[in-house]
Symmetry: C2
Subunit: 323 residues, 2 copies
Amino acid sequence: MRDEFNIGVDIGGTNIKYGIVSSSGKILYKEIISSGLDRKGFLSNLRKGVDSLLLFAREKGIKINQIGIGVPGTVDILKGRIYGIPPNLSFLKDFALRKYLQRYFDYPIFMDNDANVMALAEYKFGLVKGYKNCICITLGTGIGSGIIINGKLFRGSSFVGPEFGHISICYHGIRCNCGNYGCLEMYASEPAMLKRAKELLREKRNSILYKLVNRDLNRLKAIDIFFAEKLKDKVACRVVQETAYYLGAGLSSAVNLFNPEVIVIGGGVAIASGRNFIKMIKTEICNRAFTSATKNLKIVKAKLGNDAGFFGASILGEELGAW
Amino acid sequence: MRDEFNIGVDIGGTNIKYGIVSSSGKILYKEIISSGLDRKGFLSNLRKGVDSLLLFAREKGIKINQIGIGVPGTVDILKGRIYGIPPNLSFLKDFALRKYLQRYFDYPIFMDNDANVMALAEYKFGLVKGYKNCICITLGTGIGSGIIINGKLFRGSSFVGPEFGHISICYHGIRCNCGNYGCLEMYASEPAMLKRAKELLREKRNSILYKLVNRDLNRLKAIDIFFAEKLKDKVACRVVQETAYYLGAGLSSAVNLFNPEVIVIGGGVAIASGRNFIKMIKTEICNRAFTSATKNLKIVKAKLGNDAGFFGASILGEELGAW
């Protein structure tokens, strides 16, 4: 079969990532642009990005088939409208993005949640290839998830979920922005890690972490914590261990419910993490979930890293066409 | 289409329930027999029960197409072998039940987990008819669950799960027999309700519950608690409320993950419960889960009651044939 070419767009709170991807999974061209600060700026940047990819394609004589877009929020994939969206992109709430873009670009346009798109990428081109039941989670500012069931993305009955970041690991736990208590996101996202590190640092003035951020804790990132963990810094080791522990507790429930063959862990926090992190999560899952469900379970770090978003978005049409 | 006739068998810790069910959902004959105390006694009773149904069918000139069996445990549906099984039926562990029965009965024999079978019954004949994404839970000695995704039973990759009773609602909660901490089953099953009631009764000597069981708390059952709740007994009201609260907390995670259209709540505890119980669970779910996922969510009590098991088992062949 001859390769076909699609555009994938990965919308993030800070940047928009773009790429032209072939149906066999080759990246022909990729680009990154700022997300902008308001709707007007965002839409102008988004169009600019797509335009430059189309220009590249035209120059190289490449025929683009379709455009796919991953959005960090709840998307009505049939209507191409964005419902839930994080605060830094709140200007996109209830926006009919596809309808808007369709006025400028005469290509089939598909949209979906960014964690679904990442799961799709790993399923078609990454580490989940060939497995029929997979859970993909993305660890970053929030915790997203995409679930493949019987070889197809599972989207729920009204495009909500799978919201793995909002399963409660403690019914009377920390209050979450969503209104629930004890959501995993409050324990194992990047902000949760940073909050915990800062608490512990108050009593550990000699931690390497202080030096890494030049004593300005506002500059602390998950990547610093993983770096300090490698150097056996006590605070960093404890934060990493606790994060893996919470993730293991939450994933155990998912394993007992879904009995997947593979769990793929991606997103900024996972990309920054060392090898130990996945091992620690696995140990906790094996301690907690049914042995019959963990016996053949694989737990792996996502392969496609920062490209997973536009990779998966580029093949949304293929998935949604059959939907 | 003409009605066809199947035998459904529902294996329980105390009794085995049987029925001849038509493909349009009519019960032609049903029976109940003790489960027996050891493997020999159990198998003899099981065969006796099926024999008596076959005799009835022969006398009435009814042609039986297949036999389906629901088992309270983990079943390899392809091999017809029982893996996990509760303690009171432990003599069936690792037993190739289908192979055994096939020696005696020359019919296609199908087996599955009892909660799956109950979900199938509600999906084909009960309240879930016509919905594509449903969660069915059974509340009894344990908490079982069957999940319908895109109109098909979801069985996981190695027939474990969905084990809704073993999602953890508190990562550092009560230790469960399965090895995990905070499993929902430890908070909202019948034994959990009874344990909590007994704790509260120590300080409430004037509770109606004492009278209901003739001051012998070993005789206490969930049905007594729901009866006393109707009479506004404080201990009973508190236990029912707490149980609904825990179930609501657990189901909220399931709602955020699966985004189902309907949740069906069945099993002995649900059958015994008053109307308030489902309402209380619903309130807790709506307090906790994403509004976009609860807006159109229906939460209902199972319709088929004690017959759901053999009802669903009777049509296992239809489901598994297409599997």
